[in-house]
Amino acid sequence: MIVELGHYALILALAASIVQSVVPALGAYRGDARMMEVGQTSSLGVFLLLAFSFSALTTAYVTSDFSVANVYENSHSAKPMLFKISGVWGNHEGSMLLWVLILALFSALVASFGRDLPPSLKANVLSVQAWILTAFIAFILFTSNPFARLFPAPFEGQDLNPILQDVGLAIHPPLLYLGYVGFSIAFSFAVAALIDGRIDAAWARWVRPWTLAAWIFLTLGISMGSYWAYYELGWGGWWFWDPVENASFMPWLSGTALLHSAVVMEKRSALKVWTILLAILTFSLSLLGTFLVRSGVLTSVHAFATDPSRGVFILLILCLFIGGALALFAFRASSLESGGLFQPVSREGALVLNNLFLTTATATVLIGTLYPLLLEMVTGEKISVGEPFFNLTFGPLMVPLLLAVPFGPLLAWKRGDIAGATQRLYWAIGAALLTAIIVIALTRGTEVLASLGLGLGVWLLIGSLVDVVERANFRKAGLSTGFARLKGLPRSAFGTTLAHFGLGVTVIGIVCVSAFETEIVTSMSPGESREAGGYEIRFDDMEERSGPNYTEDVATFTLLTAGATVDRIESARRLYTARQMPTTEAGLRTEWFSQLYISLGDSAANGGATVVRIWYKPLVTLIWIGTLFMAFGGLVSLADRRLRVGAPAARKARRVAPA
């Protein structure tokens, strides 16, 4: 019964979205306040209906109701509760439902928190959001209904793909969708501004917090996904340039560009047309990602089993929204008043440079991802574009960008002083060069690229701190005044510092693990030992165990230094019984920022021995720790009071609170 109610709520949500697509926009066109008000109620209504619908599906999963086809195909009564719940979005239909739920959540948030938006802009934004909602709810109802019943109801489900039976599934997709879908707000604001034909610095101020929020979630989502793939797949890699990873990385790159260009628009009222275009492109790339994952054009770990009708439907949505928005842009962009030119050496000039490199890098990733698909469609020839391609194109483009990062915040608006900025960066330059020289000396000149990479990382770490430290002026003002000054700095300054610092941390992690990791592939019998990461690693024994829905062979390894036991690592091969599918559970030991990684291969032909792969990955965790810094920087920046200017009521309340 609850399942049918959930289905019904989904249909109602479609109807309400259709109303919301038309009425507020029409109201804005006619200047009818009551019609514009409709968006307010309907966006909350759609969100509640979708939330109900989603809970209905979750209930079916929790109670293992195998009469629902979707539950039968993706669940099992013996599955642990956490995976029953996260399994709701571990499949195409359920994850689509989560996707629209988050989309509706963002509309509802704009409706509730956007009190200070001009009514016509807000009405248009909510209508544009509703167009996207309508398209995707229709997609779910017509091609991917999660509520379809099975008759007769089977006794037991087919279980969830074992790779997905991990905490990662509970966290990675929701975060990623919050990011992907969050960019829809920037898109809707852009389209609404084009419909209105009016755009100013205030627009950028309204859009920035939403973009920032989406960016934070996407950063965390991608990073979480990367760590998940790293420990779950047992291949020891943290980024594969897999087309689906690229699909999430492209909106991140262009979203990062958007964050920076919106600053220019807000402060200098320039780059308006470009910012609008970036907002449209960023969400278009999110939609492209959705299409790539769900249309079945790709073979990837992520690709869902799909039928062609879905691909065609999403392709239609994609063309409609991207094509429509770009056409609108082409028609209206010229009517938007554009800002003047500015000095190349200035804060805004630096931000333009950032945008130039980020969008060019996005374009190369896009080419690498789509070219094989297009080539196959046109000539039938099949090629694969992998890591070597991206290392050759994306890598070189990032170097000048990363070199420029510390300069940006040190240049003044309007007219920057590059010599002055360089002077202030003396410490950073010195530390970077010193790092490079030390690494070259330690590796006896064998790792020139890595030493330059590490120098670049240190340059980012120290360079990003210069701005805040100088503004506090500890040397002249003394510690206490310095800290008082630090307190008085706008939070966005700390946000920038943290995010750029995080970039440096990630760069160091990437360089270290790429250049200095050691890998041993060997076959071992119980009692044998190997050397890795400064330890003697002894393979003790192999033991059979059984979990709730799998059986596993667990190998125990003992780590020894000079004969003394340091730690034990367990690494396992699992066989999930329902699907008869094996997975690898890697054994990890983290010491400081480095990790020892052990994964098991096949049992080798000679009795008792097993193939073992042991990696020592120096500073590997910095890759993800850096992204945490970036996300935290975004969060701090989001708390900046400037983003709430134009919200007088809220500001008053804040002033009262600390007193």
Partner: protein, 157 residues
């Protein structure tokens, strides 16, 4: 600097970055892209040494030999021709005789395919899409049973 000079400088800068990117993409495309080949393609056309290839087909039943544990040799077949492959490392969880596989690497001088990556997807009924398309295009695909025609596929999974 004059207004005109500024404009020229910005446009020049933008174009040089784009040109740099285009140059990088074109170089990378010609050097680092792997072409899909079936075993028949390799036997008939013999690609040059050093050319990166994705070799796709089925693992021939009874061909998997593990010597010393970590190096594995097997034959990849498309039911017409087969190519010997050698690989050092851990095979994917779903690597099995009779199942679809894609091996990436280069062809050695003795016509032994030296794979540096072996992919088998995480799905028990997996046949790589490229392999299926290739077999279909050459009429080697049994549409009714959804598997390759010749029963050289063994008892898959």
């Amino acid at each position: 600097m004059t207004r005109k000079g500024k404009r020229l400088l910005s446009i020049g800068g933008i174009f040089s970055v784009i040109a740099l990117a285009a140059g990088l993409v074109l170089t990378a495309m010609s050097d680092s892209v792997a072409y899909f080949n079936s075993p028949t393609d390799i036997v008939e056309r013999t690609p040059g040494p050093g050319q990166r290839i994705r070799l796709g087909g089925m693992v021939e039943s009874g061909s998997v030999v593990r010597d010393r544990g970590e190096t594995v040799t097997f034959r990849v077949t498309d039911t017409v021709q087969s190519v010997p492959v050698t690989y050092t490392g851990i095979l994917p969880d779903l690597f099995r005789e009779g199942q679809g596989v894609v091996a990436e690497g280069t062809l050695g001088p003795d016509r032994l395919f030296l794979a540096d990556t072996v992919l088998a997807k995480h799905d028990e009924n997996y046949m790589p899409k490229e392999v299926v398309d290739d077999l279909k295009a050459r009429g080697l695909w049994d549409h009714d049973a959804s598997r390759p025609k010749a029963a050289g596929t063994g008892e898959g999974a």
